[in-house]
Subunit: 443 residues, 2 copies
Amino acid sequence: MPDAAVYQGHAAVRAGILVTGTEVLTGIISDRNGPWLSEQLAGLGVDVLGVLVVGDRPDDLRSGLAYFAAQGVSLIVTSGGLGPTADDLTAEIVAGFCGRSLELDAGLEGRIAEIVSRLRVRFPGVDPEALREANRKQALVPVGASVLEPVGTAPGLVVPPGDGAVGPTVMVLPGPPGELKPMWDSAQSVSAFRSAIAGAPELRREMIRLFGIPEAEISVTLRAAAEAGIDLSALEITTCLRRGEIEVSTRFAPAAAGSYDALRQFILSRHADVAFAPDGETVDQLVAEALVADGSSVAVAESCTGGLLGARLTERAGSSAYFVGGAVVYSDEAKTSQVGVPAALISSHGAVSGEVALALAFGVRERFGASFGVGVTGIAGPGGGTAEKPVGLVWFAVSSSDGRSLVRSVKMPGGRAAVRERSTTVAMHLLLRVLRGEGDAPA
Amino acid sequence: MPDAAVYQGHAAVRAGILVTGTEVLTGIISDRNGPWLSEQLAGLGVDVLGVLVVGDRPDDLRSGLAYFAAQGVSLIVTSGGLGPTADDLTAEIVAGFCGRSLELDAGLEGRIAEIVSRLRVRFPGVDPEALREANRKQALVPVGASVLEPVGTAPGLVVPPGDGAVGPTVMVLPGPPGELKPMWDSAQSVSAFRSAIAGAPELRREMIRLFGIPEAEISVTLRAAAEAGIDLSALEITTCLRRGEIEVSTRFAPAAAGSYDALRQFILSRHADVAFAPDGETVDQLVAEALVADGSSVAVAESCTGGLLGARLTERAGSSAYFVGGAVVYSDEAKTSQVGVPAALISSHGAVSGEVALALAFGVRERFGASFGVGVTGIAGPGGGTAEKPVGLVWFAVSSSDGRSLVRSVKMPGGRAAVRERSTTVAMHLLLRVLRGEGDAPA
């Protein structure tokens, strides 16, 4: 929980998010729609009351809708339950909830049939009569609702409360995120949706990212900012530790922009050494931009991260412009044969050492002909730790073709996956520092 | 939504999960506790009504508890809101909800103080008076509740309804998953928790995994099984497409084991070629076991996956026993210099081709001295596609030291991240096939 959240309750318009799907509820697949919709709604100035995940049972859907309605929300967004089979019930239940009857939309039925006939080519064995029935089910629309055209085969809906009724408008979206997101975009212009969120205040959202201090220090800084006379009362500040970085996220109305600018300046000057992203940039973005700006390139030699650092550096489209390649050198032999780490260095200092990390960074830079080389070697656990070199100890090095280098070690908490993941973050930050000119020149 | 879910409503004991935290609600961090708790409860035969995520607002916590109580659940499990700061309110609100007053537990206060004093060494600047106050807040316990000893600094609670009151028992757990999970384990023996879920039926959960068929075919298979006389009425079957594999997950009471065995046999014989895991094993586990059993080893050469395949093969503890290393060869030059792919092969067939995939697999196996080599080369997008070689086209090859090889291409849907992720799954399956003896012998 954020230490220093300051809630002012700006937003007058509230919404609820209802995610349906037994496979989501039981943890078989994880829900990505709830958090995504929550962020979108927040961006529109809508205050999200909650995200409720229920299974595919009619009563649970109904009670979920009733729960949000009882809290006085103006809008409920649902995800899931729009498929062609009998357990896909959302449209029918929402119609009942809004006091509207279902009617066949013949035009929509035709458009769905067309989409399905294109898909059928891939699955020729399917019974055409069953298909026709499924189409028809998906084309049943509550009277007075706006139809959102299918992205997959399922249409979405915006259903205002029935004539004379009072209650929230319900936006009905499909479950697959690849269908939900474009449909959300197209729903933005639907007038029933615009009316449901009318009155939501315009809000800005800004972020500062810091790396290398405990979260508690940010609380102290926020208190100090208030004591220094900066007005925090109109700022909704959340601090969060994510992937080893501290994110200070602030929402505010345009009128409070002056207060935010003062706070931003206060944080940046107090934490100049660790506030690497004054406007919320990710370290990945900053590394990529710095490499592109210089026309330089990078290669990596990884041991305990097993390829995760290369994978992270190639996550972005266009990374082939600066990422040359990498060596995953798990065994000592591979470190020597693939990157040229002297075997004597490994035997005298151990594979997990600053010396070997630097030899990995230097060797991979030379072998791949890159401007920068990064070396990572550590003990991800759970086995392999000793008193002197415990599980979680990881050595990092960055070597630059102009002769600079940076070597650091970190003892990380957590299990194997956490140590590996966190190691990529530390490596990215060290690379960024060298890209920004840090590092020791050769003796 | 699963096509073929069959719900019988076995469970008489229902529960709700209430996740608190504004940073979870707003999507800043994703909730892992809800799905995890849901799975644990299902494993105990408890029917989970829903997972509700709300922010850190007292009214929203209260209405969330009231929502689940109104549905008649016997148990509510909360996660989050147990920190030392003023916005951490769960214990207080749950006490009120259960009709119990808060009382200082002096022994607990002492134990928390001890934990905190050890942590203080890392942050020497913190005000000791503020700390004492925070300790005291965390040691306030509803009268009659069972305390779950802190894993971090926050204790958990099991709070039965107050004397004479009717309502659910509330289990209060901290938000960090690393604290929540061990505390859940220790809560299993608490009698107030055992009574809350008394009467939940014993349920078994089994899974079959398949790779390489559309989800719709499983629906057809389930219908065929019913037509063949297998009694599905006592089986709760969910099918789900995850990471490119189909998971058929079934829950059933021990009395229905015979029906499940018949269904399992029916599916396995009908889909012998694609049902790679008859008892729910992951492909990662099967690959690791096969490599260990043979005393063999693997090395990988990856282009578009950028290190993800190496990272996946080293996810498991003990992978150094069989994973030698890998080459991330993004540029054509790297493919040639690091793995020995002939430059002429690249210029005549293109970097994304079966020939280059095989040369990568062969080359990396030879250079790293491994028993098996895997090569992956493709177009992850969004740029770089052509009519002949579109975005999403990926070539795979596996080369074995006994001369066998397997070369395949797949045209994958989805964006860059999906193509890269899915590619690692395809590569794992091809490797498993070669480990199981498939592959062409040399001409």
